[in-house]
């Protein structure tokens, strides 16, 4: 009998099932590569399997019929019009670091305990959050596309301490909720999916991940891969048809961002020294920057690629150096990035290095397997693309220049004894106040700030850290380089001569 359905996808008849984690997810899911597909067809799924092993995953909860917003749109626009009868639903896998029986029992226990509480809904949410923080590793949508099955996938990032003692910071992530059997599970991460070269290639997928983070900050409309590719191709088709997608130009990527009512902020760093602080600041600000990278293969073919940066690794194997007397910049401690590379997987480590004066990223080849000595691809960063709110008018380059000017003034002082670390970032006003108040020793500062001055929607911060104290120069992001508007200098130190001087130099109030 001739069938046009994907057979293995429909092989299970249970809608909801707890399973022991199998490190070979393609096999466990019964996936069969399409004829003549490359040996790397399931590379992303195998990468996710290995990643979950590192997170000590023990149990998988399989939902066999899951309606995914992104895939439904892709199906509607593209796959529903194929001769092959692709289903319009997916499978979803949830991952836990506790044993199967324990997870199954916990689902019942949480509901039972909450039912006995005076405020059962609140209690259930609180208990579900606590359970998620302890045991939930995230989820992975499996699309009914045998050649590109990995759909929206949100996994917990690596822990803050690496084996070599260095620090991992994932500022470009957000909280996601997954509703399963009456519970609301939560996971902090950033959405990943692989390209299908139908509605999306790497450019669309990198934009999609970055817009997921933008949606956490602003009320951006739904941005599915199909919508991104369509909006990117609305006014310009420099390379022919938009679907099947064979990539986008940088111009089209900017058009797509604008179509979602955000402002595309494009930077082209000319050197390693210039690129490093800009990349660091964009990730630190939580904007999940899209990094456009380029490499020339052994056969002299040049190709461009896009990845989304989610976090940084600080310090090892090199240590930062002072760039002014006793002053150093946190970006100098950035030795690797963690990027979503749709050809490889989420949170792929990309080592940062300076070669020929340019910022290079050393990344795994997409075809490398777990048991191989991983070959590295050497990519050169060419552009940084950020989807920003339109009221962020100050560019990161203007902000860094301001940081350098202030550093120069501080470096000339005779009283800079202890080491000072500096960095710059842009945060929403409330997020800045919250982060300041949560330091513990400065709980009264947010109240003092709002008593004395109105904050812009986003505030730019140039931070100087002396041991445990911080002094922040706050700048209105709606102002421009020529007409800078300093909001205040905020310090956690009660007797900081430097903070007073900074306030004087910037012509703004000192809040302490």
């Amino acid at each position: 009998m001739l069938s046009t359905m994907a057979p293995s996808f429909l092989s299970t008849n249970k809608l909801f099932e707890y399973l022991h984690f199998d490190a070979d997810l393609p096999k466990a899911l019964g996936l069969t590569p399409p004829p003549f597909s490359s040996s790397s067809t399931y590379h992303q799924l195998l990468y996710i399997s290995r990643y979950l092993q590192q997170l000590e995953c023990k149990t998988v909860l399989l939902e066999s019929r899951y309606v995914d917003r992104d895939y439904m749109e892709d199906h509607s626009v593209f796959y529903s019009r194929s001769l092959t009868g692709y289903p319009n639903y997916c499978r979803r896998l949830h991952f836990f670091n506790e044993a199967k029986d324990a997870v199954e029992a916990e689902f019942v226990k949480l509901l039972q305990e909450a039912a006995g509480d005076n405020e059962p809904e609140r209690a259930l949410r609180r208990k579900s959050r606590a359970f998620s923080a302890r045991a939930y590793l995230g989820f992975c949508v499996i699309k009914p596309l045998e050649g590109s099955p990995v759909g929206r996938t949100v996994l917990r990032p690596y822990g803050p301490k690496a084996d070599d003692g260095s620090l991992r910071v994932f500022d470009s992530t957000r909280l996601y909720q997954a509703h399963v059997a009456g519970l609301e599970l939560t996971v902090a991460g950033l959405a990943f999916q692989q390209q299908d070269v139908g509605v999306s290639a790497c450019a669309t997928t990198a934009l999609w991940s970055s817009l997921h983070k933008a949606k956490d900050l602003e009320d951006v409309g739904p941005a599915t891969p199909a919508q991104i590719t369509s909006l990117a191709s609305r006014f310009s088709l420099p390379f022919g048809r938009s679907m099947p997608s064979e990539g986008l130009s940088v111009d089209q990527m900017c058009q797509a961002i604008r179509a979602f009512e955000l402002a595309p902020h494009l930077l082209r760093p000319r050197s390693f020294q210039a690129a490093r602080p800009l990349v660091y600041a964009a990730i630190r600000s939580g904007f999940a920057p899209i990094l456009i990278i380029r490499r020339t293969t052994a056969t002299s073919i040049t190709t461009a690629h896009a990845v989304t940066a989610t976090g940084v690794k600080l310090v090892e194997p090199t240590r930062p150096r002072f760039f002014a007397p006793n002053i150093w910049d946190y970006s100098q401690a950035m030795t690797a990035l963690y990027v979503h590379d749709d050809r490889v997987g989420p949170y792929e480590k990309a080592s940062v290095r300076d070669a020929d004066g340019q910022l290079h990223l050393l990344m795994d080849e997409p075809t490398s397997a777990a048991d191989e000595v991983t070959p590295k691809e050497d990519w050169t960063l060419t552009h940084i693309l950020l989807p920003l709110h339109g009221k962020i008018r100050l560019s990161f380059s203007s902000l860094y220049n301001l940081l350098l000017r202030l550093t120069k003034k501080i470096g000339k002082r005779d009283d800079v004894g202890a080491s000072i670390a500096t960095e710059m970032f842009i945060l929403k006003g409330p997020a800045y106040l919250r982060s300041l108040g949560l330091r513990g020793d400065s709980a009264a500062l947010p109240g003092e700030i709002v008593k004395q001055l109105p904050l812009s929607r986003y505030v730019a911060v140039i931070r100087f850290r002396f041991s445990s104290d911080v002094t922040d120069v706050l700048i209105d992001t709606t102002s421009t380089e020529k007409n800078l508007h300093f909001l205040a200098v905020v310090t956690t130190s009660k007797a900081s001569a430097l903070a007073s001087d900074l306030a004087q130099w910037c012509g703004c109030p000192l809040v302490m």
């Binding site: 803050p160 500022d171 990539g247 130009s249 602080p277 461009a304 002014a324 490889v344 380059s397």
Partner: protein, 60 residues
């Protein structure tokens, strides 16, 4: 995502000292960073299309 800055509880150790000509070097860095916003038509024409099976569809 991180409300509490994890760097605050991490001990960073720096190497060496600032270079003698640190002011000049800061100026070079400032000029470099300022030039990051200077873009040309070629920058926007770059085609971003690396595929996951190693295929390269076109060149720019």
């Amino acid at each position: 995502m991180t409300d509490r800055d994890p760097k605050a509880s991490y001990t960073f150790e720096c190497e060496g000292q600032a270079p003698e000509n640190w002011e000049d070097q800061l100026q070079v860095l400032a000029d470099d960073v300022a030039s990051s916003v200077i873009l040309t038509e070629e920058d926007y024409a770059v085609r971003v299309n690396a595929l996951d099976d190693g295929t390269i569809l076109s060149f720019d």
